[in-house]
């Protein structure tokens, strides 16, 4: 019996292709060969900071302290006393390893110039062999506390999380990915083992490898290293329904910012259940943000020329299946004036629907160029591929969707997202 089903995905538009492997263990694997010096592998676990409440296969409902996924990420590199930990194992073969936790996933990555398959083998080994003790968890608590403090001292972090707390009533995205010094005191080895067993399973993971690799070589490592498919499905996440309007309209924080920071968040009231529809809305929001707020937009030029903003100004749209928001950020000594002008600007755009064909086609060029350059480095390719695959799509579909977006799609986002009642503001001084 074959251990995997392999399909080749191709984009005529971008002149790129890659292989997607559905391994018998349940793991989805993407192999992106590239003539680069470095090979990068990144595995995403569908367990992020937002996954705080879930139902285990036996029916038990668990609620985790904030920062558990991030704590688990730190501790996964640990080894039994006297054995090499994962970092040392990677280092011995000349590979670098790193990891990060986002609201939606935990990712582990390696890069190497001459040991791609051995590095992949180490990655797939340590992720399925955790070792948590009272002592090593205690030590990690001190290190993570230092990390939390470092971010606490950063005004940008204070602004982002201040906005999230104000925008969301109960959704865990309002909490810091790393948790707090108080919340991480509740984390125990047992809790980490429970989370590992529940989520660190091949059918709840996606692996992307880009660089000097081939599908057959990767498959051979998978066959050797991966555990069998689990008997039970991954836990079901439980989210309390989140009201569509922000919890608080406006907040202010003092964080010793050299120049005040303004964050305007628009909480998206439309969260399509279907991933294709989510992608279409996100593509429209990205194009709209680019047209409305990028360096060639009228408001950027006006605010900059009048000295109300510096170069640190931008807009983005972030989303997953349970949340979506647009975020406009600026550094300004006159946050109230910038805020007022952005509100008026958006009101005018909603009233006039005056996006021009020239703006629209220029933005498409920018997006197309970004799609091409996503293939410039193995590291970018692996990271971009992971994002797409974990969202349930591939690397090429978003470009095709983006090319199909019409001005009507943009106006729909403008009229349903950029509304005063969806707006929440955070100022950091």
């Amino acid at each position: 019996m074959r251990s995997a089903v392999i399909e080749t995905l191709t984009s005529a538009r971008l002149r790129q292709s890659y292989s997607r492997i559905r391994h018998r263990s349940g793991l989805t694997v993407c192999v992106l060969p590239k003539r680069s010096a470095v090979t990068c592998g990144v595995i995403g676990v569908n367990f992020g900071a937002n996954d705080r409440t879930f139902c285990l296969p036996g029916g038990e409902v668990m609620t985790l302290p904030a920062g558990t996924a991030h704590f688990l990420e730190h501790k996964m590199f640990a080894a039994r006393d006297g054995e090499e930990d994962a970092i040392a194992r990677f280092a011995r073969i000349g590979a670098n390893a790193d990891a990060y936790t986002t609201p939606d996933l935990t990712a582990y990555q390696f890069s190497t110039t001459d040991a791609a398959y051995p590095a992949l083998e180490i990655l797939l080994d340590f992720l399925f062999h955790p070792y948590f003790t009272e002592e090593n968890v205690e030590k990690e608590r001190a290190i993570i506390a230092q990390e939390i403090r470092m971010y606490d001292d950063t005004p940008v972090q204070a602004g982002y999380y201040g906005l999230m707390e104000a925008m969301y009533h109960t959704h865990p995205i309002r909490d810091n990915v790393g948790g707090t010094e108080a919340s991480i005191r509740q984390i125990t080895p047992e809790l980490l083992y429970t989370c590992h067993k529940a989520f660190y399973r091949p059918d709840n993971m996606t692996l992307c490898v880009a660089g000097r690799v081939e599908a057959d070589g990767v498959l051979s490592v998978l066959d050797r290293c991966l555990p069998e498919r689990g008997e039970h499905p991954a836990p079901e996440r439980i989210f309390v329904p989140e009201p569509v309007y922000p919890a608080v309209q406006s907040v202010q924080y003092q964080a010793d910012a050299a120049i005040p920071l303004l964050y305007l968040g628009f909480k998206d009231p439309i969260l399509p259940a279907d991933s294709a529809a989510r992608m279409r809305r996100a593509a429209a929001a990205d194009i709209l943000n680019d047209i409305l707020f990028c360096r060639s937009s009228p408001i950027y030029a006006d605010l900059y020329t009048r000295g109300l903003i510096n170069g640190r100004f931008g807009a983005e749209y972030e989303y997953a299946d349970t949340y979506g928001y647009a975020l406009i950020s600026a550094e300004s000594a006159q946050c109230d004036a910038v805020d007022a002008q952005i509100r008026q600007y958006l009101a005018d755009r909603r009233a006039l629907h005056d996006i021009t064909d020239a703006q629209f086609s220029r933005c498409r060029r920018v997006m197309y160029a970004s799609a091409v350059t996503a293939f410039e480095s193995a590291e970018d390719m692996a990271a971009e591929c992971l994002d797409c695959e974990m969202e349930g799509t591939d690397m090429f579909t978003p470009v095709d969707v983006m090319m199909q977006i019409t001005k009507e799609d943009l106006f729909y986002v403008l009229d349903t997202l950029y509304l005063p009642k969806q707006l929440c503001r955070c100022v950091v001084t």
């Binding site: 010096a37 040392a88 230092q146 470092m150 950063t154 050299a258 000295g307 550094e331 160029a369 091409v372």
Partner: protein, 448 residues
């Protein structure tokens, strides 16, 4: 040697690094200027004032529209410091021609169009009364002042900046790359214009291209740049790069400065004189020393100070090959200053006494080799590699350096440790202590 050199005009050379693995064309144009407190802010302002608008694209948004139309081409200027030289650098990149969709191919070569736009920006700025627009100058002065102030937002950056100010107080190197709030405020449109014309007339210019195009194609694309720059220069002019003062041993006693701030995490920064500069034939030995001490997650500082002792989240060491220095920086609790200093000293001693476990040394070697090989994957990194080395008078490629690193012994590294002298210790003392983690309400114990 991984590049070919071509003279463009007096004081300006083109270096072509052929690479067929990138999807973009990359070009950097570097003007090398003396680092001087009286001109630092003016040179720092030049790239941003030039990018505000030119005759062809009078406003910032007009220029942005132009770059968007060129498939999101990049044209950015910045100011930096390399040893005791101030660099004004413009970086350009665009999709390589084959990546342009067929329906737009008749619009002409992207790379040449981007260089034309760059020439518009560099040589045809908007002026009034023969100097830069007052409104653009004042606007960018305000942004420069904000950027200088903004470094206090990142406490790690702030602490390193304070260390440099203290350690190099009597050296030209203490001049910040962007100048100070006072020097930024003092720049007038006339002074800025003077700096601009001085730069075009006297600064050595290094143009580096990375991509698929042949040298003659790149030269052809640069013909407008060469003729415009050539108008400011003559064959009789001399173009000299500034020399950097290198102090190979620290003065005694070690300077120790502690400053208090209302922040949660404290920052410890230590500056050393390393006795090793890039121009030395064996700098690669010191590069490996730094990698072993604190260059990666498998370094001694990370393994000992973070992983074994749990003293910090970050602890790293990095060299400055132009100035002959090394810095260590880490984020710790306020009450762990002495413990951290002792742990750092102990790790340097481990290298000095040749006691590094062989597997840790080999891991550092492999990590450094990997980092050198990865340079081949980034046009900007590859260009910067050769620029830095040319400035130091050497031309070794990343792969040649890999060969050198393979031959470094534990004894070589022990000599590097012996030559290292501690110069200045700076401690940004915050409020968070390890006792907080145990829910203790005692007041923070802090350094003197």
């Amino acid at each position: 040697m991984g590049f070919t050199e071509h003279t463009l005009c007096p004081g300006a050379s083109l270096y072509v690094i052929p690479k067929d693995t990138f999807l973009t064309d990359y070009l950097s144009v570097t003007f090398t200027l003396p680092l001087d407190a009286s001109t630092a802010s003016a040179y720092a302002l030049l790239p941003s004032v030039l990018c505000r608008g030119c005759e062809a694209y009078p406003t910032q948004d007009a220029l942005a529209v132009r770059l968007d139309t060129l498939y999101n081409a990049g044209l950015a200027g910045r100011c930096g410091k390399s040893g005791e030289a101030q660099l004004v650098v413009f970086r350009l990149h665009c999709l390589e021609q084959d990546a342009v969709p067929p329906e737009d191919e008749n619009e002409g070569p992207l790379f040449s169009s981007l260089i034309e736009t760059f020439c518009d920006v560099l040589f045809h700025p908007r002026t009034e009364r023969g100097v830069f627009l007052s409104s653009y100058t004042e606007g960018e002065k305000k942004n420069l002042a904000e950027a200088i102030r903004a470094q206090s937002n990142n406490k790690a950056v702030l602490a390193m900046h304070r260390l440099e100010q203290i350690m190099f107080a009597d050296e030209v190197f203490s001049v910040p790359a962007r100048g100070t709030l006072e020097s930024a405020a003092a720049v007038t449109p006339e002074a800025l214009w003077q700096a601009y014309t001085d730069m075009l007339r006297h600064a050595p210019v290094s143009v580096t291209y990375v991509g698929r195009q042949m040298p003659e194609q790149v030269r052809a694309a640069l013909s407008g740049f060469v003729s415009a720059l050539g108008r400011y220069r003559s064959a009789e002019d001399t173009f000299r790069s500034p020399q950097t003062q290198v102090i190979r041993r620290a003065r005694q006693p070690v300077r120790e400065v502690c400053e208090h701030m209302d922040v949660r995490q404290s920052r410890l920064c230590i500056g050393y004189r390393s006795a090793a500069v890039l121009a030395d034939r064996d700098f690669y030995k010191f590069a490996l020393f730094c990698e072993l001490l604190g260059g990666s997650a498998s370094s001694l500082l990370f393994l000992e100070v973070r992983e074994r002792m749990g003293l910090c989240y970050d602890c790293s060491a990095f060299p400055d090959g132009q100035k002959g220095t090394m810095f260590i920086t880490c984020g710790i609790s306020a009450d762990r200053l002495e413990a951290a200093r002792e742990a750092i000293r102990a790790q340097i001693d481990v290298i000095r006494h040749g006691k590094v476990p062989p597997e840790v040394l080999e891991a550092a070697r492999k990590s450094l080799i990997s980092a050198y090989r990865e340079i081949e994957d980034s046009a900007a990194a590859l260009g910067a590699w050769y620029e830095n080395r040319r400035a130091a008078g050497i031309e070794t490629s990343p792969e040649q350096t890999v060969e050198q690193v393979l031959g470094v012994t534990a004894r070589d590294l022990a000599r590097c440790a012996d030559a290292l002298t501690e110069d200045t210790v700076y401690f940004l003392c915050g409020t968070g202590t390890d006792m907080d983690l145990e829910e203790d309400e005692d007041d923070a114990f802090c350094c003197d």
